[in-house]
Symmetry: C2
Subunit: 338 residues, 2 copies
């Protein structure tokens, strides 16, 4: 089968590899209907993370169950499933506590930009749709593997409540899903910080009531003006850089919480400001499975359409072009069809 691998920064290849096989009774093999490129895939692509040449890359996929191990009882070949990017047994103490991304037996999906994928802990990880979904539903279902629950987790972590004024830092696909989450949670005002017109449009479609194009001090001043000098009730940091973190803390009101879901790279947490202003920081790797029942309902009922974040659809054979487009920010998020 074909699967995407990374050999060095900027060096993405589609290679032939053996199809994955069941090696544990908790495994499942999925025939991938759609995969995609994550903002976090850009870290190794840009050389910010170490790369082992030839490593399969990609951790977001939806597809059809091909085969299951003997301990996987709730799924069978033919089921259409969403695969959370972090697997979990959904029964360990951390899972029961809602921290499925720290599952004692969990791991991370690899090789999601390919034709077949292996899922460990399939019983605890997967969720299935009622029958095969309509093709138009695939993009939104695919967001459930990572980007939508990650944005959702950021809003949960920031403690978004009905009536709040929420600021979202970052207009990547996660930030846009953060806007969607905050709006769904009843935020009265959702302020998207974005300089890019196409992203601003999606933000508004997702429920942003305001867009602030300025950054840094000017951005903070704009938020201050919008909030009568008070600051935001909750802030979603959806990037993972030090600039984004500083921006988030600069606009958070005293007593609020900054949610964060972007993998931190070079982030120096402003602990003195946190202390002086009682601004908390919460978040991390999204416990996707925890949110899936609720979010799958939102998607299949048509209440939300997070699939809008996919502004580019490419055949798997053009995966390298997909990486370039996301790296150059000419694409928001690229869906790959095997």
């Amino acid at each position: 089968m074909r699967v995407t691998t990374i050999h060095a920064p900027g060096d993405i290849r589609l290679e032939e590899r053996p199809e994955p096989e069941i090696t544990a009774p908790t495994d499942a093999v999925i025939k991938i209907t759609a995969g995609c490129i994550c903002g976090s895939d850009l870290w190794p692509y840009r050389g910010a993370n170490d790369v082992t040449p030839g490593t399969p890359i990609g951790h977001e996929m939806v597809g059809v169950v091909e085969e299951v191990g003997s301990e996987v009882r709730s799924f069978r070949p033919g089921d259409f499933v969403v695969v959370p990017f972090c697997t979990c047994d959904n029964t360990c103490p951390h899972c029961r506590h809602g921290a499925q991304s720290a599952c004692l037996h969990g791991g991370m999906i690899a090789g999601g930009q390919g034709e077949y994928g292996l899922v460990s802990q399939a019983e605890g990880s997967l969720v299935k749709t009622d029958g095969p979904p309509d093709a138009t539903m695939i993009p939104s279902l695919l967001t459930l593997a990572d980007v939508f629950p990650t944005g959702w987790h950021c809003a949960v972590s920031a403690g978004v409540r009905k009536g709040d004024t929420v600021v979202v830092v970052g207009d990547g696909a996660v930030g846009l899903c953060g806007v969607l989450a905050a709006a769904q949670m009843g935020a009265e005002r959702v302020i998207a910080m974005s300089r890019h017109e196409p992203r601003q449009q999606i933000a508004r479609a997702f429920g942003a009531t305001h867009v602030v194009a300025e950054r840094g001090k000017e951005g903070a001043a704009a938020i201050k003006e919008l909030t009568d000098g008070v600051g935001a009730d909750a802030v979603l940091e959806c990037v993972g850089t030090d600039d984004a973190m500083r921006q988030a803390f600069a606009v958070a009101r005293p007593g609020s919480t900054v949610g964060f879901v972007g993998v931190p790279h070079g982030v120096d947490v402003p602990v003195a400001r946190m202390f002086a202003k009682n601004i908390g920081l919460a978040g991390g790797v999204a416990p996707v499975r925890r949110y899936l029942p609720e979010l799958l309902d939102l998607v299949t009922s048509g209440t939300v359409n997070p699939g809008l974040v996919f502004d580019t659809v490419l055949p798997l054979s053009e995966v390298a072009a997909g990486y370039r487009a996301m790296d150059e920010r000419t694409a928001i998020k690229v869906l790959l069809e095997p």
Copy 2:
């Protein structure tokens, strides 16, 4: 009048200064019944903070209202009052949001180790007792100025809930009050990390169910064993050093929150661990006034006796000896009688 001043690290003096005067209609002058030395007073004493020679020091006091400004309507001369170490109008947006320590018109009490103290924003800041309190009640009432609400805030920030297993890092007076707070909030197990027998005794009196004397990796291993490998549901970091912060994150379970109330000195927040394990960080300067009605009730009803943290009582004239005792950890907390 006499008031304590600091001239350089280690140089504490009792000096004659003019009695404070009402200069704003929101001011009140308090005749101090009791003041005390705070762990945070040791930062400048030890040279960790800059010192302006001759600065009055001390921010915790209770006493009797001597005089009030024209806009102070709820208090009059003769009232016995608790003075929160950070003043607030209790009406600004931050106060209404529960972040009184970030009040737009607030400030910090100075000169609390003296005979008379000035309180700005007296109407919003002060709370009074029903009549003059019994002398035996003074120590516990004095803890309401800072140390008890600060420990309480740490437990609130860490999200302590009924049935939780809570770890308290730091066996200073704040940490001990954190133990008391966690126990009052219904924690099933409160694990105090303490190596000092007298402090362990107070921790147990305050509701600690377990004491762990080990620190660092050994301390973390002991907590892990106590929690079946899971970690604590909530952790209270009551010191402010990097070691204490690392200890706190090392024992917090995935999905939990570390509360922090010790003024951070050289703290490098372990953001990678926070992210990987979804452990939040929340807290800061305690919004004392927010908690005072509830905590004053707990004290005056005799439900709690936080005054036990005062293991040393000295006349104001011996304030310098009080600092030495706290610096050398021969005293937990020193009460000063003018």
